[in-house]
């Protein structure tokens, strides 16, 4: 078997292949994976949270993997799933942003040279769907957060793109285990006038539950926000508090005179 960097790859079918689908083989199953990403809109903008773990099967191999990425000053993405595919996507978006910047109509006209969040979301939808059609998906669940231009100015935007190109947008989004465990919490606690502290506390609560109940989660997380004034800000990773003090946890169950519990 020969390795190939040029377009065509081992199948050799698609001579028009773009930079995306050349010579790299197919992702048939994810190897190094990130788990959930969660996001919520709040009064100043949009906030995302993700942990910094990439697992290698059951092993917690990379504990400082960055899964939140700033595309431009208006857009932030988070990715779960195969980490190599997420890196491919971030490289692609960086390349596009640079091209945009360099080919802007006028050197002084920087306002409209960046894609807004909805444009990034739509572009990613096209990329993911196109790969799915070639049976060579980018094995990721992506959350796109940011500001989008509308007729009435910039509005907060939060949407999801999955590995087969499904897209939707909502006030709160979660991928992976988060869709089972975090979404109900966010639905319960969401208000349109959540301030930054409340949104952050809510996301931390959800990440705490995910750390308790997801085998592939870590208690070291990053939180990122997009606001009109400050653009995209991604925090440094930090550890969240966990609770193990309940009496029903501490009491042992394995004695001879136990209740048969576990």
């Amino acid at each position: 078997m020969s390795l190939s960097f040029s377009s065509g790859g081992s199948a050799g079918t698609n001579s028009r292949s773009s930079l995306m689908a050349s010579g790299t083989g197919r992702t048939t199953r994810p190897i190094v994976t990130g788990t959930s990403v969660i996001g919520i809109k709040y009064v100043d903008g949009v906030m995302l949270a993700a942990d910094t773990l990439c697992s290698y099967g059951t092993m917690a191999k990379y504990k400082d993997a960055r899964r939140l990425f700033s595309v431009n000053s208006k857009t932030l993405i988070g990715g779960g799933g195969e980490y190599s595919d997420f890196q491919t996507i971030t490289d692609l978006l960086k390349r596009n942003a640079l091209e945009h910047q360099c080919t802007a109509d006028s050197l002084y006209d920087e306002d409209n040279s960046e894609d807004c969040a909805r444009e990034v979301w739509n572009y990613l939808r096209a990329v993911m769907y196109n790969r799915r059609n070639k049976m060579n998906p980018l094995w990721n669940d992506l959350v796109v957060a940011g500001f989008t231009q509308t007729s009435s100015g910039d509005e907060p935007f939060l949407g999801l793109v999955d590995k087969i190109g499904t897209t939707y947008e909502d006030k709160y989004i979660a991928t992976g285990f988060g869709s089972y465990l975090a979404l109900p919490i966010m639905r319960e606690k969401y208000r349109p006038d959540l301030d930054e502290g409340e949104a952050r506390a809510l996301l931390e609560d959800c990440m705490r539950v995910l750390f308790y109940r997801d085998c592939r989660a870590l208690n070291r997380i990053q939180i990122a926000k997009v606001t009109k004034e400050d653009g995209v800000l991604i925090s440094e990773p930090f550890e969240i508090e966990t609770s193990w003090e309940s009496a029903s946890f501490v009491s042992p169950k394995g004695q001879l005179d136990g209740d048969g519990g576990w």
């Binding site: 697992s55 099967g57 059951t58 092993m59 917690a60 191999k61 285990f177 308790y212 109940r213 997801d214 085998c215 592939r216 870590l218 208690n219 550890e239 508090e241 966990t242 609770s243 193990w244 003090e245 029903s248 946890f249 501490v250 042992p252 169950k253 394995g254 004695q255 001879l256 136990g258 519990g261 576990w262």
Partner: protein
């Protein structure tokens, strides 16, 4: 004792015929869909005068944590305990059977059963039902004959007395650590410290291990139970 979960005639069937090289680990491949696994880290070290046993507390179904503070160290008799790994159902059933037989034996003989007897009972069950069980057990305890001793009974039903034993899916991550830090004549405090440290390290890397650390220190006079909460581990998660 004619206990057997399966017909006694041994069928000629090479288990390697049905082995599929699909990347699944030995620990989880035979679990039925939805079955609970104590994919785990368990450990036991004997010291002069007793034994310390330790375990994590995560019970998982697939990637969901079904119980984050379970108790994987089960008491088989007054001074004999077993650390359980593998299928939660299988190990609970095995523990129940061994408890029953050890209890009977103690009444009949009028004295404490030895750890060796407990281990051999466990081994007999694991070996004779090896096709239907997925259980890795560490039996440890104190008896008047040997003092503290530890027996490792992995999948398949081997029973082997060890100077220290580690088991479960998380144990693969700490072979190096324990090999380098274990010494033959550890005192009680050193043994307890090593157990807590090693299990913390395994929990930090194994996705199927986590939660809290439970330890039992068995000696002639007592069983001391300890609980180390998940935010106070010697080495962080």
């Amino acid at each position: 004792m004619a206990f057997s979960l399966t017909q006694s005639a041994r069928q000629t069937h090479d288990p390697m015929d049905s082995y599929v090289y699909d990347g699944k680990s030995a620990e989880t491949r035979n679990l039925k869909p939805g079955e609970l696994s104590t994919g785990t880290t368990i450990m036991a070290i004997p010291f002069d005068g007793g034994v310390v046993l330790g375990a994590d507390s995560r019970v998982s179904t697939g990637t969901y944590v079904a119980n984050r503070t379970s108790d994987k160290i089960s008491q088989l008799h007054d001074r004999i305990w077993a650390c359980r790994s593998g299928s939660a159902a299988d190990t609970q059933a095995l523990t129940d059977y061994v408890r029953h037989y050890l209890g009977q034996l103690a009444i009949e003989t009028g004295r404490l059963p030895t750890v060796k007897t407990a281990a051999y009972l466990m081994r007999k069950l694991c070996y004779e039902n090896k096709d239907n069980l997925m259980a890795g057990v560490i039996v440890g305890g104190w008896d008047p004959v040997e003092g503290g001793s530890v027996y490792n009974i992995p999948l398949g039903g081997t029973c082997i007395k060890m100077p220290f034993a580690i088991g479960g899916s998380g144990s693969t991550y700490i072979y190096g650590l324990v090999d380098s830090e274990f010494t033959a004549d550890m005192g009680k405090n050193e043994a307890v410290t090593l157990v807590k440290k090693a299990i913390s390290h395994a929990m930090a890397r194994d996705g199927s291990s986590g939660g809290i650390i439970r330890t039992v220190i068995v000696s002639e006079g007592s069983n001391e139970r300890e609980y180390i909460p998940g935010n106070n581990l010697p080495y962080g998660p």
